[in-house]
Amino acid sequence: MAGSTPASLTADAPASVAAAPRKSGPTSPWQEAWRRFRRHRLAVASGVVLLLLIATVVLGPFIWPVAINDIDFAAKLQGPSWAHPLGTDDLGQDLLARLIYGGRISLAVGLAAMVVAVVVGVVVGALAGMSAGWVDAALMWLTDLFLALPLLPLLLLLMYLFRDHFKRLFGVEGGAFILIVVVIGGLRWMQVARLVRAQFLSLREKEFVEAARALGASKLRLVVGHILPNALGPVIVAGTIDVAAAIIAESTLSFLGLGFPSDIPTWGSVLRDAKDYLDIAPHWALFPGAAIFLAVITINFMGDGLRDALDPRRVL
């Protein structure tokens, strides 16, 4: 018995516990993960809340068909009321409708940026892990370089330089969306790349890969069929963190004035307009801020639950 876990119970008992048959029969690793996930009440609750949030922004306009830019000076800066459940802004526009609309954009940005980050990360990590030699070294140097770059300043810089250009190419909304997604995703792939590369390095020498290779599996098949599925767990966890980070990044950009412009009501840009009216209309800032907070914290809790569910070695 290798004594690397001292004074810890199951160090003595693994063989004997394994010998005892499980009552419910064999379970797949995904079922095991689901079982573990379910034990995290906070994570499960967050999942529910998040689903509700998504449902609200997706189905919202059908249930609350109020326009987002109905200007009505008579109703400006009102607190929550029956007519306007979340109040109005300085132009009398209904906040609930604006936040629902903005929610779609913010969540879409989060998701899309995550996809970009994961795809780039997987490709880079796989290439690095498979090649070894100078390709690996070069890619790792690049990864380290990107990791050292300060995210927000660079984000701001890229938005500053390219925003007009993209606006001309893809229209105001589309341009901003594509640019933000590409930039955020392009600055968050490094973590995923490292994870994937680590998986490759550790699994490359493992027996089941050798066995598959002996059976004649092509390199691509090896990668897709054997190595990547094992990297899936940590990548999923990193992906969830990426969604939260992307949502925060987009709202920060919009808040600072370099993301989506004011007439497109993402949660960040609404906050930007609201910040000067904190004393007379605090609701205007509180609701979008709370929305961002809710989205991010539920994603974070879920990510935590997923981490424990998918990586049982970490006893936390």
């Binding site: 004594g3 690397s4 300060p150 927000l152 300043p153 701001l156 330089l161 600072l256 906050l271 936390l316």
Partner: protein, 320 residues
């Protein structure tokens, strides 16, 4: 700790800095439009000056030459002139840099002072009430975007309670003790916003690092020596658990700078973060480039610092 280690780390910093400068410059070179377009519409700048500037910055030269010129200029401390603020860029930056450094520095210190004891305590009583509360609070802490926390603070402490001013004034006409007190009062909120955000993510990390270390063999050995649980934790566990934490603090610095930019905007702190934003909104390109470069360099420098501290904490690393 060997001198070789430090020298090696310093040497590695150089290609990093070069790499960053290359990235920045490439980005700027690829940007569509003329960075000096703004000047064309600025009536104060006569066309000959513009032409001279273009020649000076070699905008009509091939990319390589432009990069080298720019790099050399940067290294010589000639960072250009800001037409918006009407002063040399390097002076402008030097004027604003100390405030940012002070705010970031104090917030980091607060973050560590809070996160270390809380994290260690939570790890030594895992799953207890304290642990669960601390964990949840930590989640809340780093899920709240800094700009929202900042606004909340203003709402509560400035507007509702009127305890703290929320506009930073660089010149306070007061003397002695009053002067410092006024400065502290107006710095509390930005420092706390940044500090709590960083502290929240540190707490979880410290906790998990301590939990990892507590399981290790040498901790059992320490216990078997009869030195008492408290000493086992403070002397043996913490020192080892600190090592990955230091790395994390360094890795999080880019994020901290981002947070600083936001807080400076909200609280109107005259640091380089708000300088960056106002320069961008005013299309003041030389300032934008210089500030981004300075921030990137600072991050690299702090990473070096972290490496050195890491080497000091872990003898296995530096004795090679």
């Amino acid at each position: 700790m060997s001198r070789q280690y430090v020298i090696r780390k310093i040497l590695i910093m150089i290609p990093s800095l070069l790499g960053i400068s290359l990235v920045l410059f490439t980005v700027l070179a690829m940007a569509p439009g003329d960075p000096f377009e703004e000047l064309a519409t600025n009536p104060a700048i006569p066309p000959e000056v513009r032409a001279a500037l273009r020649a000076k910055f070699g905008l009509d030269d091939p990319v390589w030459t432009r990069y080298l010129h720019w790099l050399v200029a940067m290294l010589q401390g000639d960072w250009g002139f800001s037409f918006v603020s009407r002063m040399d860029v390097d002076k402008l930056i030097l004027q604003r840099l100390p405030v940012t450094l002070i705010v970031i520095g104090s917030s980091q210190i607060i973050a560590i002072l809070v996160a270390l004891p809380v994290g260690v305590l939570a790890a030594t009583r895992p799953y207890s009430l304290f642990d669960q509360v601390a964990n949840t609070l930590a989640f809340v802490g780093f899920s709240l975007p800094t700009f929202f926390t900042g606004l909340l603070f203003i709402l509560v402490f400035s507007i509702q309670l009127d305890w703290l001013p929320f506009v930073y004034r660089a010149n306070i006409d007061a003397t002695g003790w009053q002067f410092y007190w006024e400065h502290i009062k107006q710095s509390i909120m930005p420092v706390m916003v940044l500090g709590l955000f960083q502290g929240a993510s540190l707490v979880r990390f410290v906790r998990s690092s301590v939990l990892d270390v507590i399981k290790l063999d040498y901790v059992t050995t320490a216990r078997s020596k009869g030195i008492g649980e408290r000493k086992v934790i403070t002397k043996h566990v913490v020192r080892n658990a600190l090592i990955p934490v230091v790395t994390l603090v360094a890795l999080q610095l880019p994020i901290v700078f981002g947070g600083a930019i936001v807080t400076e905007q909200i609280f109107r702190v005259p640091g380089i973060g708000s300088l960056l934003i106002s320069a961008m909104l005013a299309n003041d390109t030389p300032v934008v480039m210089a500030v981004t470069f300075v921030i990137a360099c600072l991050v690299v420098f702090f990473n070096l610092l972290a490496d050195i501290i890491y080497g000091w904490l872990d003898p296995r690393i530096s004795y090679r």
